[in-house]
Symmetry: C2
Subunit: 101 residues, 2 copies
């Protein structure tokens, strides 16, 4: 997924485009725009998805620093995923895409 050395991107948009590519990432992003997001909640909202699908998407988005994972509580386990600053900076791009579509 990630190329750091091999990508000497002549095309700046490309890397951001790649970070949002994948079957579930755009939908997760869109839901995350509205507020913090939880694993099992996503699983229920995204019909046709699976634990694995969600887990992979969240992990990659976290690695790309699009979202941040926060342990809210341990005792009854409660984890939240939130858009990072970088993630938030992509909101206008999404808005523009939605405007076009």
């Amino acid at each position: 997924m990630n190329n750091i050395v091999e990508d000497q991107n002549q095309c700046p948009a490309e890397s951001l485009l790649k970070q949002l590519s994948g079957k579930w990432k755009p939908q997760i992003f869109r839901i995350a725009v509205t507020g913090p997001v939880r694993f099992n909640s996503l699983l229920r909202q995204l019909e046709g998805s699976s634990k694995q699908a969600i887990a992979t998407a969240l992990k990659e988005m976290e690695e790309q620093s699009l979202i941040e994972k926060t342990v809210i509580q341990l005792k009854p386990l409660h984890i939240e995923y939130t858009l990072s600053e970088k993630g938030k900076s992509l909101i206008p791009v999404f808005k523009q895409l939605e405007h076009l579509a």
Copy 2:
């Protein structure tokens, strides 16, 4: 690549994002912004690409109506690919992405 029936997209940005996904499409798009583009010229510009790679990307972008194929001349064969209106409408999105990157 295309889902028409199965995609009842809740996520409008998603389909446009998918149309620009693929290893070579963003780069081809970016070059096409600067003017009409030819097959072998792309092949030379995009290091690491191949005829097949370029052909597939161009074909899909044409199917998605992002670019238009025009036969300029037959006798010495000359074909050009140009951004369509839909393609041009994505330029601001690209600009925004480049601005962020």
